[in-house]
Each structure stands twice: as structure tokens, then as C-alpha cells.
């Protein structure tokens, strides 16, 4: 059962995993698209852990790992609600055009 927090976000852990798996190819697309489209992207803020130190993973580099994968979860293609994950970071975008292009790219 989704937690209340997840319900509020309209997201369950299972749907996230499924969404992430489906977004694997899209993630690569978003990396390329982002270079072109980034001025138009409206980052709506990252979602840090509830506690900045406890629950994080010290001893490992935070943020985006150089050369590591970037994963994209299109939460809602219609509204353009997109989450982007890299390393131990995440950010949330709202870009209807990008979401539509990703959706089209996977048929």
C-alpha cells in the first residue's frame, strides 16, 4: 500500500521502479535533449532527504557521478511533471514539451 506521502505525490515505490525501468531509454534521450532544451527547463526544486545528514550516504560522493547514468521518470506526461535522477541527487522539472517528446520517442 502506498504511504500517505507517496499518495500525496501520486507515486508508489512500485510505480517508481516500473517508471524508472520504462524510462531507461528515455533517460539517455533526456541527456541529449537537456543540452539543447535546458534554458527552457523549469526546475521546480530538488527533493532533499528529510534529514540532510542522517539518511544520506557520507563517504560516497554526493550529487551526480561523472559519467554516470541519468534516469528520468516522467510522472505525468500531460502536465510535464518529470523527475531526473543522477548519482545521489534528484531534481524535478515541469516541461510539457520535453515530456511529450520523451513519450513520443517510446511510442
Amino acid at each position: 500500500m502506498p504511504s500517505q506521502d507517496e499518495k500525496r505525490a501520486g507515486l508508489s515505490r512500485r510505480s517508481l521502479l516500473q517508471g524508472a525501468a520504462a524510462a531507461g531509454a528515455a533517460g539517455l534521450a533526456a541527456t541529449a535533449i537537456g543540452a539543447v532544451a535546458s534554458p527552457a527547463l523549469a526546475a521546480t526544486g530538488s527533493a532533499p532527504a528529510p534529514d540532510q545528514a542522517h539518511g544520506q550516504a557520507p563517504g560516497r560522493a554526493h550529487g551526480r557521478a561523472p559519467g554516470g547514468p541519468i534516469m528520468v521518470h516522467v510522472r505525468d506526461a500531460r502536465s510535464g511533471d518529470i523527475e531526473v535522477f543522477a548519482g545521489t541527487s534528484q531534481t524535478r522539472l515541469r516541461d510539457q514539451d520535453l515530456a511529450a517528446r520523451i513519450a513520443r520517442s517510446i511510442g
Binding site: M1, S3, G55, G59
Partner: protein, 455 residues
């Protein structure tokens, strides 16, 4: 139990599934507290060729709250790294493993320990070796000595161990999950119209299996605040938000910030108090949010079941349940600690914040082993559960008895517990655990070997 496979989602992720937490003033090092968090439940010792190991992709933590707000003030974080010496063999080991640097050991783990205090994080151990699993007399011929090499002294009086141990928690899972049956009393069970049962001794379902333990012994001064001897302890496991199966490389790729997927403080809380539909949510939250689960502690479903499953045995409990009076005794034991003035010369109260934490009053010295009671505080032994938890404490019997009303007189002296309430047990004791507990760190016994178990 006490938190093995306790929630639907985490039961599918054993590497991140916390099973038990222990916190006690070290009997042989009284200036220190020992904290143990167990993971990976119900390991069959012969489970090769890929024997059990911690998850490189899991952030394991042991937390300590020392100001009563249900949030971590000190955390110990453990991150594991697995290395394979020779990927061209299927073997875990290619000969006897007699030292932690043995070239015969093919798949090994090391770990880093970080101590987080507030917003400050400090690496206190790096590249620490885990022991291998206990395989058998040819592969791990002197396992006790081998595992002892994996006890690391980090300086500052901190000692740490991470690796396989014998399961020390004893419980008759097979009977209890068969509609609340307690074998020693099953002649009294309602049996739902089925033939009557006959009382028999309990069976330790967790005997002869192993777990993976993270144990750390810390000077008490590093954990508690001046003037506040009681600490709250719990463990968590967290995973990164995204996992992608990279089919090209045959591996998982993880990304994003860590999010908590498993939590454990007091034994059996998520297991038997939190309803099925909320267990994984409970696992994802900090203790400071436990107010939202208060009703499941103060109106526990299991207490209401006792009179139904054992008709006529618990009339006073039945009346208490029918009255719908909140179980403030359970609230104190599990969510706030017991205030002073309730039990003579004892308190482990941390304040009004409702938080499921294992509360340990560190000013209470360890009870000598000859005078310990496995029933802890219920047995007049203030150094045992629910004042922290020792590896031998019979937390099943203690909680069964508390739920049955034994502790309700703490808040209502007019309540008389049923005679049976104080006798409840699943029929097991520490002697039901075949592997002897250790008298020194890490206290849990040498794991069972795959050669000898199952026998």
C-alpha cells in the same frame, strides 16, 4: 518476528530487511553501550554457492536519539563493498579460508563506517573486513577464530563487527502464525471448531539459522547527553530511489537519493501491532512520526484477539478491551519510555514525543548473568527489555504478557490481570538456541555452518 519479513514490500527485499535490534550496557565493558542491528532473516546455513552478504546498494544505519525528539542525534552508517578475486570460477572459495586475507576466499566484503552527529559526518573506519559465511570444516575450519579477526577496534573506544552470526532471537513462528497458537497452552485454544489440541513444548523456528549482524560498541559518553542518561535506538536501511536493470551488463544500476525502506526499534511493533496496510509506510518513516500510529499501540488488535482465541481464559482482559480504554501502559513502554514514579527506582522516559525506539537508561548497570531474568523488567531485572534489549531477553513472552494486561496496573491499580496473562509464553528460552551466545562482543553466537545445518 521480531521483525523478520514483517511487511509486504520489505519481505521481498531480505538484504534490506532489519530483523532485530539490541541495545545494552556492555556487561564486560560497562563504560560502553553495545548496539546490534540484524539483517537478512532466516538464512539457511547451506545457502551457497552465493552465500549471504550485505547489500552494496543499501545504506545501513543505527541511530541514537539523546534528546527525546524521535530524531537521530548520532548515527552510525555502514556501506559495504563486494570484490570478486576471480570471476572465472563459480566458487565462493577455492580452498580453506583461514585468514581474512586468504587468497582462497574469492568473494569478500569490506565496509566503511561513518559517524554522523548532527550535520557533521566523520569516517571512523574504512576498508574493514567482514568475515566469510560459515561454510563448513573444509572451507572455514576454525570459524570462531576467523570471525574474531573481523572484530575491529577503531580508536576512541569504538569496536565494530559486521558479518554473519547465529540467530539469537527465539520464537515459535510456526505456532504463533497458525492463528495465534501457543503450543504450551494450545489445549485452551478455540480451534475454530476443529479437533482440540494437546499442550506440547514450543518449537524454536529460528533455531539453526543465521542472520547478518552489524554490531558496534561505543563509549556511552559518545551517545548520551549530560543529564539525560536514556537514549533511544533504532536501525534503518535505505535504498536509492531508482533501480534499473541494465540487461546489457547483467546488473542493477541505482540512482537518486537514499530513501528509507526498513526500520526497527522495539521488537514486534511493526510485526504484530501495525496493520498490514500500513507496515511498509511505517518502515519508511522516522520514529518522530509515530504519533500517526498511536491507535494501533493503545488499542492493539492482538490484545483483543487473546480472549477470542482462548475463550474464558482472559475475562479481565476481555472487559478491558470492551471498555476501549487506551492502553497507556503500552504507550509508555513502546512510545515514550516509562516515567519515573511508576516503577521503583526506574525510568527510561524520554519525553512526550511518541516514537518507537528501544529506550536504554544507560545509568542502570548490567545485571550479573547469574541474576538476570529473561523477562527483563517484568522479571524485576531493570537491565533488560524494555530497558534496552539484551540478546537473551525473551521479548516474545514479555510482549505477550504486556499485551494481555500484565502491565496495565502500572496506570490503573484497580485492574487485576488474568492469572494466565503472567504465564504466557511460546515455551522457549535462550536454551532453545543451539549456538551459544558469547560473553563478549559481538555477543551473538558463531553462525551455524552449511555442512552441519540442516542436519
Amino acid at each position: 518476528m521480531s521483525s523478520h519479513r514483517e511487511a509486504p514490500e520489505i519481505s521481498k527485499d531480505p538484504v534490506a530487511d532489519s530483523t532485530d535490534v539490541y541495545a545494552f550496557v556492555s556487561p564486560d565493558q560497562p563504560g560502553t553501550v553495545t548496539l546490534i542491528a540484524n539483517y537478512i532473516p532466516l538464512q539457511s546455513p547451506a545457502g551457497g554457492p552465493n552465500f549471504y552478504e550485505f547489500g552494496d546498494d543499501v545504506l545501513y544505519e543505527i541511530h541514537v536519539d539523546n534528546n527525546g525528539d524521535g530524531r537521530a542525534d548520532v548515527s552510525f552508517q555502514f556501506r559495504f563493498t563486494t570484490r570478486v578475486r576471480n570471476p572465472e570460477t563459480f566458487l565462493y572459495n577455492t580452498g580453506p579460508i583461514q585468514s581474512l586475507d586468504s587468497p582462497n576466499w574469492n568473494r569478500r566484503q569490506t565496509y566503511d563506517v561513518t559517524m554522523v552527529s548532527g550535520f557533521s559526518a566523520r569516517a571512523i573506519g574504512t576498508g574493514l573486513a567482514c568475515p566469510p559465511c560459515n561454510i563448513g570444516p573444509l572451507s572455514t575450519p576454525d570459524y570462531g577464530a576467523l570471525a574474531a579477526q573481523a572484530v575491529h577496534h577503531l580508536g576512541g573506544g569504538i569496536t565494530v563487527f559486521a558479518g554473519q552470526r547465529a540467530e539469537g532471537f527465539y520464537v515459535d513462528l510456526g505456532a504463533i502464525f497458525d492463528l495465534g497458537d501457543l503450543r504450551p497452552f494450545e489445549q485452551l485454544h478455540a480451534t475454530f471448531g476443529l479437533p482440540a489440541l494437546k499442550a506440547v513444548p514450543g518449537v524454536n523456528a529460528t533455531n539453526n539459522v543465521n542472520v547478518h549482524s552489524i554490531a558496534i560498541q561505543v563509549p556511552v559518553s559518545a551517545l548520551r547527553r549530560s543529564g539525560h542518561p536514556t537514549i533511544g535506538v533504532w536501525t534503518t536501511a535505505s535504498r536509492q530511489r531508482v533501480r534499473l536493470w541494465d540487461a546489457d551488463n547483467g546488473e542493477n544500476v541505482d540512482s537518486g537519493p537514499f530513501r528509507q525502506v526498513s526500520r526497527l526499534g522495539n521488537p514486534l511493533v511493526n510485526e504484530v501491532l501495525i496493520p498490514l496496510g500500513h507496515k511498509d509506510q511505517w518502515n519508511s518513516l522516522p520514529p518522530s512520526d509515530d504519533k500517526r500510529f498511536l491507535q494501533y499501540v493503545t488499542q492493539p488488535g492482538l490484545a483483543a484477539l487473546h480472549p477470542v482465541l482462548y475463550p474464558g481464559v482472559f475475562p479481565n482482559l476481555a472487559a478491558l478491551v470492551k471498555s476501549s480504554k487506551p492502553r497507556a501502559d503500552l504507550q509508555a513502554i513502546l512510545l515514550t519510555g516509562i516515567p519515573s514514579g511508576i516503577i521503583a527506582d526506574f525510568t527510561n522516559f524520554t519525553g512526550p514525543v511518541l516514537a518507537d525506539m528501544l529506550r536504554l537508561n544507560t545509568s542502570i548497570p548490567p545485571t550479573p548473568s547469574a541474576r538476570q531474568s529473561i523477562f527483563g523488567l517484568l522479571g524485576g531485572d531493570a537491565a533488560g527489555f524494555p530497558n534496552g534489549r539484551r540478546v537473551t531477553d525473551d521479548v516474545v513472552a514479555i510482549e505477550l504478557r504486556a499485551l494481555a494486561g500484565v502491565t496495565y496496573p502500572l496506570i490503573d491499580k484497580n485492574f487485576k490481570p488474568d492469572a494466565a496473562a503472567g504465564q504466557l509464553t511460546d515455551g522457549l528460552t535462550p536454551a532453545s538456541v543451539h549456538a551459544p551466545y558469547l560473553g563478549q562482543f559481538p555477543y551473538l553466537g558463531v553462525p551455524y555452518s552449511g555442512y552441519n545445518e540442516p542436519s
